[in-house]
């Protein structure tokens, strides 16, 4: 093969467009004629399009039928089609879900794991316990409003809290890269201590590994946590029912946007800080005030949109939300607008999505607003029956559209 431009090769032939577009037109015409001849024998579902409208192709069906076919395809067993892990598998969207279901759930399948909730709920000698784990690889390690240390504590505390447990004890595993600054490590660990104190938990066991320079990015942290479930509630996204109310505990997307801007690759500045915070206090107040809580999730990777999709899929309901009612800080909205991303998919690290029986909606909202971390709580939508498995957004513009799971968006590492 020699160096050269594609347009000077021989594959395209000599006298260009006329020849080639003619061939294309001829092909298209022939195909069209064949199909039209075939179509003449079929009933035409599109007659209403009027004279001059294209004839339907044989085998093409009506939009509703196609949509049903797609629904079936989406319900089919997840398969990882890629041969290697790509960044999409960690983005918290569809690829992550497929990976978890097709590889991990498939291998470990058991009734405790199967709900794929934020924490597993277990019986230990007659006590009800919640167990969870999470790894943190955020870059940069330090960002406005926090660092990887408090993030690692708050994230695990929140996973326990939204499962209805009182978080008690955490483990901390560190993977450190050769050459990492000890002062930086001290700062990170000090933040972990402060975050644990604020959440009322203790770090009681740990592990340290060091890898060669270039084999990690400074510092990765894994935390696991256990908590006790003092009051048994059937919490879970699958519990959502038509008529339920959907709310969030405050403005969304602060953490994700903070991280994206903190990486300094975008030349955009905005006055926004991470929302990382322990939610166990807020959750305790909420559960006490509103027994009709069906599900709580902290909206991390994949953002609020991902949680709403999990509600719709797992409960077999339609979630309808109103864009104008979703609290988003102007700075976050502005940055999202510039970056071409939807705040609905941007991670939070201290925000709850709550599904609650409509009878308890008012008390749930009041309980959240009474807590400093829930001051900006708002009702964003409701649960409907049909169409199941779908999240619908009523746009500010006055239209309606689907909000799907995030597809492998190349967003930076945010937690």
């Amino acid at each position: 093969m020699t160096a050269g431009r594609a347009d000077t090769g021989t594959d395209a032939g000599g006298s260009v467009q006329e020849d080639h577009s003619a061939a294309w037109v001829a092909d298209a015409l022939r195909e069209h004629d064949e199909l039209t001849a075939l179509a003449a024998e079929l009933p035409n579902p599109r007659d209403e399009r009027g004279p001059g409208a294209p004839q339907p192709l044989p085998g093409t069906v009506r939009e509703e039928q196609v949509l049903e076919r797609i629904d079936r395809a989406r319900r089919s067993r997840p398969r990882v089609k890629e041969e290697r892990i790509t960044m999409s598998h960690g983005a918290g969207g569809k690829a992550t879900r497929t990976l978890v279901e097709a590889i991990f759930l498939d291998a470990f399948r058991n009734p405790l794991l199967e709900p794929l909730e934020d924490a597993a709920r277990l019986d230990v000698n007659g006590s009800r316990v919640a167990l969870t784990t999470d790894s943190y690889v955020v870059s940069p390690l330090f960002f406005p409003g926090g660092n990887i240390g408090d993030l690692a504590v708050n994230g695990t505390v929140n996973d326990l809290a939204v499962s209805g447990a009182v978080p008690l004890y955490l483990s901390a595993g560190f993977i450190l890269e050769e050459g990492f600054g000890v002062d930086d490590l001290r700062r990170i660990v000090a933040s972990m201590h402060d975050a644990a104190a604020a959440a009322g938990v203790q770090v009681v066991t740990g592990d340290t590994k060091v890898v060669e320079k270039g084999k990690a990015d400074g510092c990765y942290i894994n935390t696991a946590g256990i908590g006790v479930i003092e009051r048994e509630t059937a919490l879970g996204v699958a519990q959502a029912r038509p008529g339920d109310v959907v709310m969030v505990s405050g403005p969304i997307g602060d953490h994700g946007i903070t991280i994206m801007l903190a990486r300094g690759e975008l030349d955009i500045e905005a006055d926004v800080i991470s929302d990382t915070a322990p939610l166990n206090g807020l959750v305790a107040g909420l559960l006490a005030a509103a027994p009709g809580i069906r599900a709580m999730r902290d909206a991390t990777r994949g953002g609020v949109a991902t949680i709403l999709n999990e509600v719709a899929t797992d409960a077999g309901v339609c979630v309808v939300v109103t864009e104008d009612d979703i609290p988003v800080r102007p700075e976050v909205r502005g940055a999202s607008e510039l970056l071409g991303i939807d705040p609905m998919y941007v991670a939070c690290e201290g925000r709850l999505v709550v599904v609650v029986d409509s009878a308890d909606a008012a008390s749930a909202l009041a309980a959240m607003r009474a807590h400093p971390l829930g001051a900006g709580a708002a009702i964003i939508g409701h649960v409907a029956e049909d169409p199941p498995g779908i999240v619908l957004l009523k746009t500010s513009f006055g239209g309606t559209r689907i909000v799907d799971l995030l597809v492998g968006d190349p967003l930076p590492r945010i937690c």
Binding site: G4, L29, P54, L67, M87, G408
Partner: protein, 375 residues
């Protein structure tokens, strides 16, 4: 948010919607093509079709930079990226476009050095930081992005950078529109003209559409009210028997375009005799290549590029979708074999692609949506 919310005002949308409905002749079906993928994205993202009467149909056009890249060019780029010491840089949109052996993302996962950038100037920065590497920028897009590539080449020349080059895949919009107008498959009543491209080339290049083909053109902005207003302007032209080029996007698009940007393109790039478009085949004078004076920045001359033409997968009907002949959902593999997470065709890759926009935002019949919204 100022300068955004004004263009998403539902009251004004209702008013425009009523005016559009008022212009519909009974029994007539109207079909407008939005040329630009950015418009397609806006239409679905804001649920704009809810405001249109049933007799007004929007057809999605070829103006999505990623969608029109043929498979062979992706393979060429991968081949190029696999050269020792090469850092390939690309816009995020391009990362998931499938070639015959996977996408940039797949190649990256296998160890090829491919990096995502937000601007070609970022590639230049990478070149400065890695003097022992050869940095290639995968340049894609219409006249919208060509000026920034041109400016990057000019800056690289001014700095005397020797380890930077571009793999030029820039295309021009007018020949594609002409190919669609000459296609017997589609009957259109008018065009919603591309806003960003027109910022660079102005409105004059579309005059032949109105003059020779008798179709009205309205160059439109990217907010939902912009598009709704443009549809109204098209309907008004039809009802008054006019076919003209009009500019709805006057706050951004100068009638004569951006002369500085055009000059930069003209200085560094020239028209190729022909170029392959995905689904549309070879179109003459429809793409740009690096001028001989800047050959040292032309990756096609610096590296072996196979330049082999790869046929699109048989099942893929992106060509028909790009020409507006098929609606996304009419493609045989739409949403089943071809989804945003495992796309077969390019239209399912970019957020500007008609299939991705429809799948992500509009995958629901309008009738059902109306039932739910009214409930």
């Amino acid at each position: 948010m100022r300068f955004v919310d004004e263009f998403r005002n539902a009251d004004q949308a209702h008013a425009l919607s009523a005016k559009i409905a008022g212009l519909c002749e009974p029994g007539r079906h109207y079909k407008f093509m939005e040329v630009c993928g950015g418009h397609t994205h806006t239409i679905y993202k804001h649920g704009l079709e809810d405001y249109l009467p049933e007799s007004v149909e929007l057809v999605h056009g070829p103006g999505c930079p990623v969608c029109v890249i043929p498979m062979g060019r992706v393979d060429d780029a991968m081949h190029l990226a696999a050269n020792p010491g090469v850092i390939m840089t690309s816009f995020g949109d391009m990362m998931r476009v499938p070639g015959s052996n996977g996408s940039f993302f797949d190649a990256k996962a296998q160890g090829t050095d491919i990096r995502m950038v937000y601007s070609p100037l970022d590639s230049l920065k990478i070149a400065r930081q890695n003097p022992d590497k050869r940095v290639v920028f995968m340049a894609i897009g219409f006249e919208t992005t060509a000026p920034s590539t041109a400016m990057t080449v000019l800056r690289a020349a001014a700095e005397g950078l020797e380890n930077f080059s571009i793999f030029c895949n820039h295309v021009t919009i007018v020949p594609a529109i002409k190919a669609i107008l000459d296609s017997p498959d589609l009957r259109l009543d008018g065009f919603i003209g591309p806003g960003h491209v027109s910022t660079v080339i102005g409105c004059r290049p579309y005059e032949f559409i109105a003059r020779d083909y008798g179709k009205p053109v309205v160059v439109a902005g990217f907010e939902p009210l912009d598009i709704l207003q443009s549809i109204y302007m098209l309907m008004l032209q039809l009802s008054e028997g006019r076919s003209e080029v009009e500019n709805q996007y006057t706050r951004v698009v100068p009638w004569d375009g951006n002369l500085v940007a055009l000059k930069a393109i003209g200085e560094t790039m020239e028209l190729r005799p022909y170029f392959e478009w995905r689904g549309l085949g070879f179109i003459s004078h429809s793409a740009l290549r690096v001028r001989a004076e800047y050959a040292r920045f032309d990756a096609e001359l610096l590296f072996d590029v196979p330049g082999v033409r790869v046929a699109d997968p048989k099942a893929c009907q992106c060509g028909e979708v790009l020409k507006g002949v098929l609606k996304p959902w009419e493609c045989k593999v739409f949403g089943t074999a071809c989804t945003p997470e495992t796309p077969i065709g390019t239209c399912m890759v970019s957020p500007e692609g008609a299939c991705a926009a429809y799948y992500n935002f509009g995958r629901l019949s309008r009738k059902r949506v109306k039932e739910v919204s009214n409930s």
